[in-house]
Symmetry: C2
Subunit: 142 residues, 2 copies
Amino acid sequence: MTCLFSDQEKILHLLKGLSNQINPKFERCTGISSSRYELLYHLYQVDEVNQSTLQKAVNIDSAAITRHLKQLEVDGMVVRSKIASDNRVTLVRLTEEGRNRILGYKEEKVRFVNTMLNDFSKEELDMVTTMLNRMQNNISEL
Amino acid sequence: MTCLFSDQEKILHLLKGLSNQINPKFERCTGISSSRYELLYHLYQVDEVNQSTLQKAVNIDSAAITRHLKQLEVDGMVVRSKIASDNRVTLVRLTEEGRNRILGYKEEKVRFVNTMLNDFSKEELDMVTTMLNRMQNNISEL
DNA sequence: CATCAATAGTTGACGTATCAATTGTTGATA
DNA sequence: TATCAACAATTGATACGTCAACTATTGATG
């Protein structure tokens, strides 16, 4: 089965395939979805934020943010509260429970990424990073 | 807003963000989803295949394959037929219509990938390709 | 001060991917 | 030949992400 894709096209295919595989595997390995993890981990660092800055940090649609946070609140990982000075915004913060659990997830995540990037040198890591960033920039205004 | 992620973790984040952006943009630019495109394009090359080999080529879940092909059949891009020698398999092939349309999509796709990889040298393309392949291998048995 | 554009968050509709379970068929083997 | 494991395709449940439309609030400008 020959492949008539150009090099460029192959990269698109690879990218798609890789990230389709990552999500389920990440969750199986760590016990949490990668989006949820990023939300929690960001909260871990900043203590308290409103949703829209959280949205920018994690870079997924705000509709998805709302739904994730609602579920994380049900799960007791997160509390949401209104702020008096501006009734539009809702602040989000980790609960004690969430703060504790995130540490376990973090460990599993590190194990996961280390497996994935197991044989990568420091230089290679830098290279992929900048390349992925360049791709992102190149399509950012489409 | 400082970022306490390790280099490895950033790559995961980038990968996710990139591929989340790619899918909607690809569809806006080309007029077809990237999965559908890959299915059609593969069919264009092989003339006729059964679904499971198509599934392996495109590398998405067989449930998704079934649904895509059903819709593509409704859209008149594809025909599915049974084979006498083995009643389990269904063969898929492009219609004339599909065969014509894929060419237009192909052009738009090439334009899209060229934009995304606009400033990449041949060496860089090779490098990303092998790196993405390595990552895929590294997580393949998780 | 009234109006109106901008902002924060939410909801609904939709597309797509996964996994698990199911149906129907085939082929090997006891 | 009857049984049973393997296989192809399908379906149902679930999760995630996007976009577009909507609500409520805020703040600036006439």
